[in-house]
């Protein structure tokens, strides 16, 4: 760390001059970047993928129909907290909100998974790069004249990710309950399994893997400790979550796709497009 000499202050230190890579003290190179690879492809693909999900989920969230095909319920509509919800036998349709709620019940619950993903450390990277070009790619100059990052309002609110993680655990618990109910048939008798049951199981497995691989979870279970050796159980849990955390991006995309596919499956079965193939 120590150089043994006092560092010379930069000529531009404290100067209000701007310009990034074109700042007067830096090597005078006209192009904003010299990368020749297809650096634009990952942010473009990310933006396209996220945009496709936003369009689909917005349509489904406002649709307010075809979200229950006994025994399957769409993850977009569970728990269903309005009086207007379709009756779900023993399902998570709790009338917390009365008849005054005239909009789609999905809007009441989607705010939590949406907030969790919006403030997620992976998705932040994805949309900062893909939509805001801050930066578009490494060593590719961003187009903004000013940057304060997450140090000020509104982006300082990204720090509420921890709160959304707590809610995400509750929502994942309810979706697990839904997946268990998928082992009953449409009359409520146990011992059923259809393709929809597998879809629900795969979805909830990916939702849990994504939720538990979250950086906030990793911190809470053990990362916040300074001395692991005094907390062997938490150290072990931290190690397990760290292994999941290394695949957080993959799990983020896999669970995003699975939740949309699970909803689409329920939408198609509820609309009578095809019958749920039944194994037993």
């Amino acid at each position: 760390m120590s150089t043994g000499t006092d560092p010379r202050p930069s000529a531009a230190a404290g100067s209000p001059a701007r310009g990034g890579v074109h700042h007067s003290t830096r090597a005078s190179i006209a192009p904003r970047h010299l990368r020749r690879d297809r650096w634009w492809l990952p942010p473009a693909a990310t933006a396209a993928g996220l945009l496709a999900f936003v369009v689909y989920s917005t349509w489904r969230a406002f649709a307010d129909e075809r979200y229950y095909a006994a025994p399957y319920v769409s993850p977009f509509y569970s728990p269903c907290l309005a009086e207007r919800c379709v009756p779900m036998k023993d399902g998570a349709d709790w009338e917390v909100f009365g008849s005054w709620w005239a909009l789609s019940p999905a809007l009441l619950i989607l705010i939590f998974p949406l907030g969790f993903r919006l403030t997620c450390y992976y998705y932040r990277k994805a949309y900062y790069r893909g939509f805001w070009a801050s930066p578009p790619a490494c060593a590719v100059a961003e187009p903004h004249a000013k940057y304060t990052g997450e140090s000020r309002f509104p982006l300082v609110l990204q720090n509420i990710h921890r709160y959304f993680f707590y809610f995400a655990v509750i929502v994942a618990g309810i979706l697990t309950y839904d997946a268990v109910l998928a082992f009953r048939d449409e009359r409520g008798a146990w011992g059923h399994m259809g393709l929809g049951t597998l879809v629900m199981l795969a979805n909830i497995a990916l939702i849990w893997a994504y939720t538990l691989s979250c950086h906030s979870c990793r911190h809470i279970v053990g990362g916040r400790l300074r001395t692991f050796s005094k907390h062997p159980v938490r150290y072990r849990m931290w190690g397990l979550v760290s292994r999941l955390n290394a695949r957080h991006m993959l799990l983020a995309w896999a669970s995003l796709i699975s939740v949309a596919l699970a909803d689409l499956y329920v939408y198609l079965v509820a609309g009578g497009v095809f019958d749920d193939p039944r194994f037993f």
Binding site: P7, A12, R35, E142, Y147, E150
Partner: protein
């Protein structure tokens, strides 16, 4: 197999400069730094370049090759097509001194701003004992060779010169994280709040975790996942988490009743 490669190398100083074309021989197994040395020995004897170990361990030969921040000694010529023109420029986040040499003193100034390790009062040097699982995390950060490629690629300062006074950059936020995770660091007892310093003095909030520092690290340190995000989470603990606040409140009340 040898071939004649086309190179564009930035030549100049703070007063101005530009890319100069060279044709230079390349032999099998060589790296970009070998070619730069051959240029010095042949067509450009006054070409300025900073280098030392040629083994990716001293962190001296940082530059940008085809626009990507790299160590010249760790970039094999075999990754380029022989027909391709290879462009070598100095790091573009720091003031240029001459040719490929930049003034990296910003980093040394930021290093001095980080409060150093505070020795525990009850232990003498030589009495420090730590278990391996407690130091594994920190040892990853100690692999840093201070090439400053992460500092160079971080858009917070690369694209915004005006942020340099407020932002320490990934390398030194990683240093703060390392010390905050250190089992024997007695900074708190010495009145130093590393989490507050990370947020208020070193500009942790400027980091938007876009992971370019991790992408360019030649030591493959997971700077974002293992240092910056954990440090952000530690700041969240301190400033934003309602459950941690409640837990601390209850513990404090319990301690007061216990005494």
């Amino acid at each position: 197999m040898s071939y004649q490669a086309r190179f564009k190398v930035w030549r100049g100083d703070a007063g101005g400069g530009g890319l100069t074309d060279y044709e230079v021989a390349v032999n099998e197994g060589e790296v970009v730094l070998d070619i730069i040395h051959r240029l010095q020995a042949t067509a450009a004897p006054d070409l300025a370049v900073r280098w030392n170990c040629k083994a990716g361990k001293c962190g001296s030969c940082s530059a940008e090759i085809n626009g990507r921040p790299r160590l010249m000694c760790m970039t094999r010529m075999s990754v380029f097509d022989p027909e391709e023109t290879v462009t070598v420029t100095p790091m573009r986040a720091f003031p240029v001194v001459r040719d490929l040499v930049t003034d990296v003193s910003y980093n040394y100034a930021k290093a001095r701003d980080v409060a150093s390790f505070a020795p525990p009062a009850d232990l003498k040097p030589g009495e420090y004992r730590m278990r391996q699982q407690d130091v594994d995390r920190l040892q990853e950060f100690r692999k840093c060779i201070e090439c400053f490629l992460c500092q160079n690629t971080c858009h917070v300062v690369r694209d915004h010169e005006e942020n340099k006074p407020a932002f320490a950059g990934p390398r030194f936020l990683m240093r703060v994280a390392e010390l905050d995770m250190h089992p024997l660091d007695a900074a708190a007892e010495a009145g130093v709040d590393r989490k507050a310093a990370a947020q208020e003095d070193h500009g942790l909030g400027y980091c938007n975790i876009t992971k370019c520092c991790t992408e360019v690290c030649p030591e493959h340190i997971k700077i974002t996942d293992n240092a910056l995000i954990p440090l952000k989470e530690r700041v969240v603990d301190r400033s934003y988490d309602p459950l941690v606040w409640l837990g601390n409140k209850i513990r404090r009340r319990g301690a007061e009743h216990g005494t």
